[in-house]
Amino acid sequence: MVADTHLFAAPAVSSPRLAPQDGTALVEFLAFLVGDEEYCLPVMLVREIRGWSQPTPLPHANTALVGVINLRGTVLPVIDLGKALALPCADPKQRPVVIVVEDSARLGGLIVDRVLDIIALPAASLEPPPAIPTQGGIVCIAALALHDGRLLRILNPSALLPAHRKDPV
């Protein structure tokens, strides 16, 4: 069964290789660690990967939104992915990596522990997440896939970036 979220439809338009209707087409994902857990993001949505810099905290923000940083003149919100996913992990300052993602013209940075690899998967191997109610009611997982016996969880950035997250976690 093919997961048909907008997540894969968006980049597929620009790259025929990712056409979702063709089950054998390969989709590339960036795999990284949050705490000890492995998660993925579609490579097409990743703008860049950069080191840690001290963010300016925003008032009245939820705990996952650690603040804003200066990305060459753009004010970029930075989200602690560990907190956003309610995972136990270390203080963000000790974690060096910020993945800058772009989702429908919005930019945001996601703090992760370590970037692992780029994994190419056939579109057909993506499965929609099971319909289990998550805590907070936000569906952060866009799809699941099996790769080398590992279960990959593919994140949905639009559920993580600030404008869509009005309720505190």
Binding site: S53, Q54, P55, T56, P57, L58, P59, H60, A61, L65, G67, V68, I69, N70, R72, G73, T74, V75, L76, P77, A105, R106, L107, G108, L161, P162, A163, K166
Partner: protein, 675 residues
């Protein structure tokens, strides 16, 4: 970016841009010397403007536009040739026709249906302009279509040196139709005197009548300025060669007639706004990079140089070079800002149209006097000023000016005067709108406010306070709701719009003599003058426009009310106090410095509040970066900026902060009452 460009669409867009300029020139020339005294030059300018609009419109098959422009042009032509007396009625009709022309241009631009009442405007101009058959035909009236084309073409030496070959051009012409080409070698000297590089040959080409003039002109498009070129219908006998060739002045004027008149304006370039914005961003980055470099060098110097030698570091070649780099960066920033700046003239012209409409609908004769039209301001400010000004002009005519009879009885001229002026003052633009109408009837305003329950009947109000009632939402003094204004969405909308621009509005009024509104606006929305403050361990920018006073205070200066609300006496007035860090939800770091800074801020409703901060660092111009796209709306924060050290600092929204603090106070009170 990668969208395929349709060259035709670009040309079309260019035409409409040009139309804006032409229409501006037209209104200008009609306005130039007031009603009824059109100077000769003004008529010519107006005529040329209408003519150029017509010419361009014909090229794009915009028949509505062409026929109306043609009608107006015919009238102007009669005036130009002295066959028509200029009366004030005629001038007014001309102005309205010019407005209609603008409407048609806009309709054509957006592809919307054009209003079909053009004939009414032409009828208002008086005698029938031209035979009805002339309407709707793009053909120029002074050409006879069935006569063949006669083209006189005399290349200059530059045509040859620039790599063009007359042979190619002549070949291209033969492709258009059966061309009859004769070469004129009358100027050809003897072989011994011949300079092969000079252009001595000329050609006369006869082309069939059905070929469009545009096609012929297109052929010569790239050599137009390096040759003598005369394209005429063969109705009058032109003696081939000599007559024209020996009269370059005549041929030069003939060449230029159909093209847009080139006024002695400064040359200009049209640039996409996106590109300028990008340049602005980059220059902002440059400034940040420069100041980061300066800070790093400063820190490095601090470590490397012994304290007693430190003053020398300031004069080291590196420091001096960095200084001049800093000056240069600021100059570039200024220059880029200036690119975005535009004179307010087009805006004022729009307003004069609004005034004419309002005055016609309400039957109150009025004229608009514009002052300081060349005052420049950022285009984003101009764009967002149009709507509030429209409201204000309509209000001025509707509520400000009296009816003509009333004015006469009061010994005022029947025609009301509305003055719109712009000027620069202290880094801001001041726009003033004054009318010589009845002024604010404060008794009436007061009664109305009481009637609507806006104020308590017993309340004593100063004149200024009564005037401020005009900005109250839902307040409208018009006795009857007219089509123009008085729908109860008057001045409060204006005030909201001006506030959103970071501006202020003030009223001055004398009963029987008129009302004056003064708008004070920032020159640009891209930068902001702010005070850099620290609170709760963070750096914030507070817009300078909202700050009344800063004072160092000690905790002893506070007075506490029963509900826990703290007050402080500043400027002979008790003002509520609010801790910035606490209001924004930053957990206080458990240290309350004995001496803190109270900043007295005010919002547009003149509500005051003392904001407590830990430290005032600096006062500087900051580049405004939007937050809402990436971060959503954050209460109390207007935008962000990037500081010299590359860190992001938040720009506070004073009005919102005052609002937040009052909410918080109300909540505390509620809890106390409940507890």
């Amino acid at each position: 970016m990668t969208q395929p460009h349709d060259p035709m669409m670009e040309i079309r867009a260019g035409f409409f841009l040009e139309c804006d300029e032409l229409l501006e020139r037209l209104t200008d020339s009609l306005d130039a010397q007031g009603f009824g005294t059109l100077g000769d030059e003004a008529i010519h300018t107006a005529f040329r403007a209408v003519h150029s609009v017509k010419g361009g419109a014909a090229a794009f098959d915009l028949t509505d536009l062409v026929s109306f422009a043609h009608g107006v042009e015919t009238h102007l032509d009669l005036v130009r040739s002295g066959k028509r007396q200029i009366t004030s009625v005629f001038c007014a009709a001309l102005l309205r026709s010019a407005d209609h022309l603008a409407v048609l241009v806009n309709a054509a631009r957006h592809g919307t249906a054009a209003p079909q009442n053009g004939a009414d405007f032409l009828a208002a101009l008086g005698t029938p302009a031209a035979p009805a058959t002339a309407f709707g035909t793009p053909a120029l009236p002074n050409t006879i279509p069935d006569q063949p084309w006669r083209i006189h073409f005399h290349p200059h030496a530059q045509l040859y040196t620039s790599g063009n070959d007359p042979l190619h051009l002549l070949n291209a012409l033969t492709e258009l139709g059966d061309a009859e080409i004769t070469c004129d070698w009358a100027d050809l000297p003897n072989l011994q005197n011949l300079m092969p590089e000079t252009g001595v040959l000329a050609w006369t080409i006869l082309l069939p009548a059905h070929i469009p003039e545009a096609a012929i002109r297109e052929t010569f498009e790239f050599v137009e300025d390096v040759c003598d070129l005369v394209i005429t219908r063969d109705c009058q006998a032109i003696i081939p060669g000599t007559a024209i060739a020996h009269n370059p002045a005549a041929s030069a004027t003939a060449t230029h007639t159909p093209s847009v008149n080139t006024a002695a304006d400064m040359p200009t370039v049209r640039v996409d706004l996106d590109r300028i914005d990008r340049l602005m961003n980059l220059v902002g980055e440059l400034a940040i990079g420069q100041s980061m470099l300066a800070q790093t060098l400063d820190a490095a110097a601090g470590q490397a140089i012994a304290p007693d030698q430190r003053h020398r570091g300031r004069y080291s070649p590196t420091a001096l070079a960095l200084d001049s780099l800093g000056t240069l960066t600021r100059d570039i920033q200024d220059a880029v800002m200036r690119i975005r700046a535009q004179p307010v003239k087009p805006l004022f012209q729009r307003m004069s149209r609004i005034l004419r409409e309002a005055s016609a609908v309400l039957g109150k004769p009025a004229e608009l006097i514009c002052l300081g039209e060349t005052t420049e301001v950022d285009r984003s400010v101009i764009e967002r000023l149009a709507e509030p000004l429209t409201h204000m002009i309509r209000n001025a005519v509707d509520h400000g000016l009296e009816l003509a009879e009333t004015r006469r009885m009061q010994g005022k001229p029947e025609t009301g005067t509305v003055t719109l002026s712009a000027s620069h003052r202290a880094g801001r633009i001041i726009v003033e709108l004054a009318d010589d109408g009845s002024g604010i009837n404060r008794e009436h305003v007061r009664t109305m406010a009481v009637e609507r329950g806006l104020i308590d009947p017993d309340l004593q109000l100063s004149d200024a306070e009564i005037d401020a009632l005009l900005f109250h939402p839902g307040f409208s003094t018009a006795a009857t709701v007219s089509a123009i204004s008085g729908r109860g969405v008057g001045m409060d909308v204006v005030q909201t719009a001006i506030r959103a621009l970071g501006g202020r509005i003030a009223i001055q009024s004398t009963l029987g003599q008129g009302t004056r509104f003064t708008l004070s606006l920032p020159l640009t929305l891209a930068v902001l003058d702010g005070m850099v403050v620290r609170a709760g361990g963070q750096t914030f920018i507070l817009p300078l426009a909202a700050i009344l006073e800063t004072a160092a205070i000690t905790n002893a200066g506070f007075r506490e009310l029963q509900d826990g609300q703290q007050l402080i006496r500043l400027r002979d007035q008790y003002t509520s106090v609010c801790d910035l860090a606490a209001t924004l939800g930053y957990t206080a770091q458990n240290h309350t410095p004995a001496r803190r800074i109270a900043i007295l801020i005010t919002d547009e409703n003149d509500q005051r509040m003392a904001l407590l901060v830990d430290q005032v660092i600096d006062q500087r111009q900051v580049v405004i970066k939007g937050l809402s796209n990436n971060c959503g709306v954050i209460p109390g924060i207007a935008a962000a900026t990037i500081l010299g050290d590359g860190h992001v600092a938040l720009i506070l929204d004073p009005g919102e902060l005052i609002h937040l603090a009052s909410l918080k106070a109300a909540a505390t009170q509620h809890i106390r009452l409940a507890g």
